[in-house]
């Protein structure tokens, strides 16, 4: 059962990651990127965080490293795992304040995009994209009635 769960989640993550990249190809804007996979990872880290997600997350990262980027094998696996851990840790351990969720979302979004930090417009792009993706996250949260 655990294996079936892991395989299902792995395919869900991989498909979302490919859709994310394909969507950004269609949008074709260097300032805006829609990060569906990040939103999914964020939701999983908040609501379904457990050790069974490790292999699917790492597997998706390796798929990205192998097929969709020129990075060394394991770079995105680390980023995805780290984002997942940090999201859950901050959500659990940080004291409650008004903008806690958006703060965690934005910080992890920066980490998610850390391979592009040398990009000239990194921070201006990140602000716009983080905002748009956070709105998307809120929409999905409302649609799925998530209790976060």
């Amino acid at each position: 059962m655990n294996i079936l769960y892991s395989i299902t989640i792995f395919f869900l993550f991989s498909a979302t990651l490919i859709v994310e990249n394909f969507l950004n190809l269609i949008i074709f804007n260097k300032y805006i990127s829609i990060s569906l996979f990040f939103i999914l990872l964020f939701i999983f880290s908040l609501t379904r965080f457990n050790n069974k997600n490790i292999v699917p997350i790492m597997g998706t990262g390796l798929i990205y490293d192998i097929f969709l980027s020129e990075n060394y094998l394991g770079v995105y696996a680390i980023i995805f795992l780290f984002v997942s851990v940090l999201t859950n840790y901050m959500f659990e351990k940080l004291i409650n304040f008004n903008f806690k969720l958006i703060f965690i979302f934005a910080l992890n979004y920066v980490i998610y995009n850390i391979p592009n930090i040398l990009n000239f417009n990194f921070f201006s792009n990140i602000v716009l994209s983080a905002f748009i993706n956070y709105l998307l996250f809120l929409l999905i949260k409302r649609f799925m009635r998530l209790s976060v």
């Binding site: 260097k30 965080f49 790492m58 020129e70 094998l73 696996a77 659990e92 990009n119 000239f120």
Partner: protein, 264 residues
């Protein structure tokens, strides 16, 4: 809204262990010179339907370029270049090396020596690089030029796998390419991901009638294809140097047809 207090303490140990495992993978991949990460893409086959433009269909490709071809008119320009070189040869014997270069260039008089392999964008990754169909199965090689449907070179292949390749374009911050104009002046075009920077490397003769900067076979490119239209940018000689920055003009979209010229 933030209902955190009821959740049990999590164990992050396994996550951290897998992060270390991934770090180990990076190390192994680094010391194997990316052998591991490129093994699967180089051996896995995704079959894409690619149209190879044989010489009998070359006219149909030329028709795509007709508006620009009339302006640039490859043969006329090359003939003009040869004339200019002959004049320069009389004036200055030190330019003989450049004349040889021109003679080499003049070997590529038309597109009949080239096949144009049609390809298309598949995906754009987070580093603003594009995956395109076709790889070593189509004899693509690192550095092969990629043209849009107007005949402009929009980038080159950075990494080639078995059935797909990674395309480096103006949008990528590590993009840089050497170019030449019709007076054999040499330039370097680079990008920071936001703007393009044009810097002259070697100015032999500058004139205001330079309209296009081209790729060139002397840089191991497959032919002469326009990259920059100098009439649309700030293109002035200052202190015998040209330094110009400008925004991307050759914007292509996900449905733009792309072609890779390959020598027959």
């Amino acid at each position: 809204m933030l209902d955190a207090q009821s959740k049990p303490k999590r164990s992050y140990v396994l996550y951290i262990l897998f992060i270390f495992l991934s770090s180990l993978l990076i190390l192994v991949d680094y010391f194997s010179n990316k052998e591991i990460s490129s093994y699967i893409p180089k051996s896995l086959t995704f079959e894409f339907k690619l149209n190879v433009f044989e010489s009998t269909y070359i006219d149909s490709f030329n028709s795509l370029l007709i508006s620009r071809a009339e302006l640039v008119s490859e043969n006329i320009r090359l003939e003009q270049e040869v004339k200019n070189l002959r004049a320069l040869e009389i004036e200055n014997s030190s330019l003989k090396e450049k004349i040889k270069s021109f003679e080499n260039i003049s070997l590529t008089k038309n597109f009949n020596n080239l096949n144009f392999i049609e390809t298309s964008l598949i995906i754009k990754n987070s580093s603003n690089e594009f995956l395109i169909s076709g790889g070593t199965n189509q004899n693509f090689k690192n550095g092969d030029l990629v043209l849009d449907d107007r005949g402009y070179a929009i980038g080159y292949l950075r990494e080639v796998y078995y059935s797909y390749s990674i395309l480096e374009t103006f949008l990528s911050q590590s993009f840089n390419i050497q170019l030449m104009d019709k007076y054999n002046n040499e330039y370097l075009l680079s990008s920071d991901g936001n703007q393009l920077f044009l810097t002259s490397i070697n100015i032999l003769k500058f004139n205001t009638d330079i309209e296009f900067l081209f790729t060139d076979i002397s840089y191991s490119h497959s032919g002469k294809f326009p990259v920059v239209d100098t009439r649309t940018i700030n293109f002035e000689l200052v202190n015998n140097q040209i330094n110009s920055s400008f925004n991307f003009s050759n914007i292509f979209t996900y449905n733009t047809k792309l072609f890779i010229p390959k020598s027959k």
